[in-house]
């Protein structure tokens, strides 16, 4: 296999800068990395693809010296890399950007970058030289960020640039990026990809860890797929296909759940000219018209920050409309009351599962009854029925295939996909008539996303109406019956999914095509 890679590198004309040979790492009985061999060429972008737990992060941690490999060797620029030393890795030109940033918020960009690059006991910093070097790097690699600003004033995308600059400042020529796009908005992802291309063109070699197929297809030169600790595929991106990669990742053909044709039933939720004045700095909603029927999925497309949060707040009862008429099952809604919304039969899958979806330090069994503990099923005379809680949790864990947890595990320690299953189990348990699903598959890997989608389809088949808010157009096209686009707090007229296509929706998301922007639309065309 090593020879195959060598020839692949030779074919692209790239000199090899990094070679992993036969890396094996065991944690007890678990083999996290099983004899993995990989090469990386100069100026090459290698996507390391795999589901959560496939061993991507372990492999990169070995490369960066956080873990010691049980077997195998690493060579950087032809020299053997001493194992288990991040310092040696940095000295050899390997830089790592973690998914969670390690920046000081009240310090300037420059401070964050130069920390630790000078001997501690020196009486003077050479700030002018440091500044020049940082600005050189920023200009060369297209990582524009003002060195004097405080990190707390930066956007997430800018913070990521600071992290990359930190690595480059230390002389990194091989950059490892751990799920770099997980925290970025779609626009930021676009400019980030442009930056990656620039960096590769300047001769940096990049390892890009991801589980998002479309990103990998868009940016990588070569893709390596890990599954259960083994390297199962390694080929140039030109030979890859979405389906092939998905199959390699999961180990079987992934059946993406298919929307069945259902005849919509009676209307459940109706908005007529609904408006919501946003607080200062927040997007207001204006003149929303939505009718959601039984057995229907109503997709809301749009770049996040265009009023999705306000719309979700309305449907979940956190806010009441300031204008227009909002009806749920025929009742007009005038007051904000999340509790009343629950009673009316609205189930909610919140956007940020860690912050508002679950209570991380509570156990799985507690999180499963957060919206029902007051009822007869789970309490009597004001005391919680522990046995009922436990039995409920065991049923749900089996029925929803929640892995890596039992009833008493702290929910915090679950993976994103399993946490989302806990939330769905809790929501569906209430037999909701209306489900608000806000970014239900964000950050989930292919298998988990498919499971969540299948659960939503099942609820729809049982008669629920679903409002699906998503930034992922492909997901919307796959799941929705009708799609409308939210832009600057206004909603376009919904179109049946059969008549919708990616291009038109994309343009509408950018503000072209909605009624009030018809002028711009004409300009653009």
């Amino acid at each position: 296999m090593a020879q195959a890679q060598a020839s692949a590198a030779a074919a692209t004309g790239a000199e090899p800068v990094l070679r992993l040979s036969g890396i094996t790492k065991r944690f007890g009985a678990l083999v996290a990395n099983d004899a993995i061999s990989l090469g990386l060429g100069r100026g090459e972008i290698l996507a390391l693809l795999g589901e959560n737990g496939a061993g991507k992060t372990t492999l990169m941690s070995i490369l960066f010296g956080h873990y010691l490999a049980d077997e195998g060797e690493i060579a950087v620029f032809g020299g053997a890399l001493p194992p288990g030393s991040p310092k040696a890795a940095i000295a050899a030109g390997v830089g790592m950007v973690h998914q969670h940033f390690t920046l000081g918020e009240n310090l300037t960009v420059l401070d964050n970058i130069v920390l630790g690059t000078e001997p501690l006991w020196r009486l003077k910093q050479n700030r002018a030289a440091a500044l020049r070097h940082v600005e050189d790097l920023a200009a060369r690699f297209g990582l524009q960020v003002e060195s004097r600003r405080l990190v707390r004033d930066l956007s997430v995308g800018e913070r990521q640039r600071v992290e990359i600059l930190k690595a480059l400042y230390r002389g990194a020529r091989v950059l490892i990026l751990d799920e770099p796009t997980a925290v970025l908005t779609p626009q930021e992802v676009e400019s980030f990809f442009a930056t990656l291309k620039t960096m590769a063109a300047e001769g940096l070699s990049i390892i890009f860890i991801s589980h998002k197929l479309n990103e990998v297809m868009a940016i990588a030169d070569r893709v390596a797929v890990l599954r259960q600790g083994r390297l199962v595929a390694d080929f140039p991106i030109a030979e890859a296909s979405r389906e092939g990669l998905a199959e390699a990742m999961v180990g079987r053909a992934v059946a993406l759940p298919e929307r069945s044709r259902l005849e919509p039933g009676a209307p459940l939720l109706r908005m007529e000219g609904v408006g919501l004045r946003g607080a200062e700095g927040k997007v207001s909603l204006e003149n929303l018209d939505i009718t959601l029927c039984e057995k229907e999925i109503f997709g809301i497309a749009g770049v996040s920050g265009n009023g999705q949060a306000a719309l979700a707040a309305l449907i979940s009862g956190l806010d009441a409309p300031t204008a227009g008429r909002f009806e749920i099952l025929g009742d007009a809604i005038a007051e904000a009351s999340p509790g009343a919304m629950l009673k009316r039969g609205v189930g909610r899958v919140p956007e940020d599962r860690h912050a508002t979806g679950v209570v991380g330090d509570f156990t799985v069994e507690e999180n499963l009854v957060l919206e029902a503990y007051g009822g007869d099923r789970f309490s009597r005379f004001g005391f919680v029925k522990g046995v009922a809680l436990r039995r409920n949790a065991e049923e749900k864990i089996a029925a929803f295939d929640i892995r890596g947890a039992d009833a008493t595990t702290a929910t915090r320690s679950l993976s994103g996909g399993n946490m989302q299953k806990v939330i769905l189990a809790r929501v569906l348990d209430q037999k909701p008539r209306i489900i608000l699903a806000n970014q239900p598959t964000r950050g989930l890997d292919v298998g988990a996303a498919a499971a969540v989608q299948a659960l939503l389809f099942q609820a729809r088949a049982e008669g629920a109406g679903i409002v699906l808010i998503s930034e992922d157009l492909e997901e919307l096209l796959q799941m929705s019956d009708r799609i409308a686009v939210l832009y600057h707090g206004r909603l376009s007229a919904p179109v049946p999914v059969e008549e919708a296509d990616l291009r038109t929706l994309g343009l509408m998301m950018a503000g072209h095509g909605t009624a009030e922007h018809s002028d711009e639309g004409r300009h653009a065309s």
């Binding site: 991040p86 310092k87 969670h100 390690t102 920046l103 000081g104 918020e105 009240n106 310090l107 401070d111 964050n112 130069v114 920390l115 630790g116 690059t117 000078e118 001997p119 501690l120 006991w121 020196r122 009486l123 003077k124 910093q125 700030r127 707390r152």
Partner: protein, 313 residues
């Protein structure tokens, strides 16, 4: 005496500078600790200890400057104790700090009583005398106010730019500021978070102890029970007032000292019709008001109060 008269009197301004001195030491010390992410509520006790130790050293025949060093050493020692609990063991910084204050104050009084069991009036020593700076002390007004002070006052004022330079212009200062913001970032650079924090707490505690020593071996010439009288707590508040910046810390110390000096003088002139307790209260009320105004946009060191344990996120 009318308020205007107070403001033009030399004595008021000289007293203000003198009264600000222990606050400057204490506030800078607390500021260094907090910048490293450790709240040091041991300050009140450490100042008491510094006052006692320095005075005792001189009383037993030691020199004044060596007394300052001895006080600093004892302060650093109690800083080490504080950091042992709050940094290495990760115990609540509030609880540890209060504990240090109780322990250090009680030990000071205990030692004082043990060494001088029979005295009723505290014995006196020869304290620092004002040192007129040659030349500068000849200046009208300023000469008397700023340049005819105790050497320790000059030291306090000199420490302000030194601490600022250290924090903002040296690699070590950058590491200290970062460890109070995000210890992970410091750890990632191969710098030992616990040692760095401990060093900062020890240095800060040494400053606090010298602030206490100033009272016994410069302003007064004896040690009294309860003589720190809440100055340590004021320093904790002044750090917030200063938004964790040394320059503003000096400003805050001067402002509070001004209220205090004013209070004493107004009390003498107007107490006929207003109860004197009102004037005692005034500096604190005014500090609260000043804090409300100044600390609106205060940017807390992000990792203040958060213990760091390796391998945890």
């Amino acid at each position: 005496m009318d308020i205007l008269e107070i403001f033009v009197s030399l004595g008021f301004w000289a007293a203000l500078v003198r009264m600000a001195t222990p606050l400057i030491f204490g506030t800078l010390g607390e500021l260094i600790c907090e910048r490293a992410g450790v709240l040091n509520l041991g300050i009140e006790g450490i100042m008491t200890l510094g006052a006692m130790v320095a005075w005792m050293w001189v009383y037993q025949g030691g020199g004044l400057w060596s007394a300052v060093l001895v006080a600093a050493a004892f302060g650093a020692l109690f800083g080490l104790l504080h950091s042992g609990f709050s940094v290495y063991l990760g115990v609540s910084q509030h609880v540890t700090g209060i504990g240090i204050t109780l322990l250090a104050s009680a030990l000071s009084y205990f030692a004082f009583r043990m060494l001088l069991p029979d005295v009723t009036t505290p014995p006196k020593i020869d304290p620092f005398q004002p040192y007129p700076v040659p030349g500068l002390s000849e200046l009208p007004f300023l000469g008397e106010v700023l340049f005819t002070q105790s050497p320790l006052t000059y030291l306090a004022f000199a420490l302000v730019p030194l601490v600022a330079y250290g924090l903002y212009r040296t690699p070590l200062g950058l590491a200290v500021r970062m460890v109070g913001e995000n210890p992970m970032a410091v750890e990632a650079q191969g710098i030992d978070v616990h040692r760095l924090r401990t060093g900062a707490v020890m240095l800060g505690s040494a400053f606090m102890a010298v602030g206490g020593a100033f009272l016994t071996i410069s302003v007064f010439d004896a040690f009294y029970i309860g003589m720190i009288n809440g100055r340590g707590w004021i320093c904790v508040a002044l750090v917030i007032f200063a938004s964790w910046r040394p320059g503003k810390a000096l400003l805050g110390a001067l402002l509070f000292a001004a209220f205090e000096a004013l209070q004493i003088r107004v009390q003498q002139s107007a107490s006929a019709f207003i109860p004197y307790q009102f004037f005692l209260m005034m500096p604190y009320v005014l500090s609260i008001l000043a804090m409300i105004v100044m600390s609106r946009r205060a940017a807390y060191p992000k990792a203040l109060l958060v213990p760091f344990r390796k391998g945890e996120r």
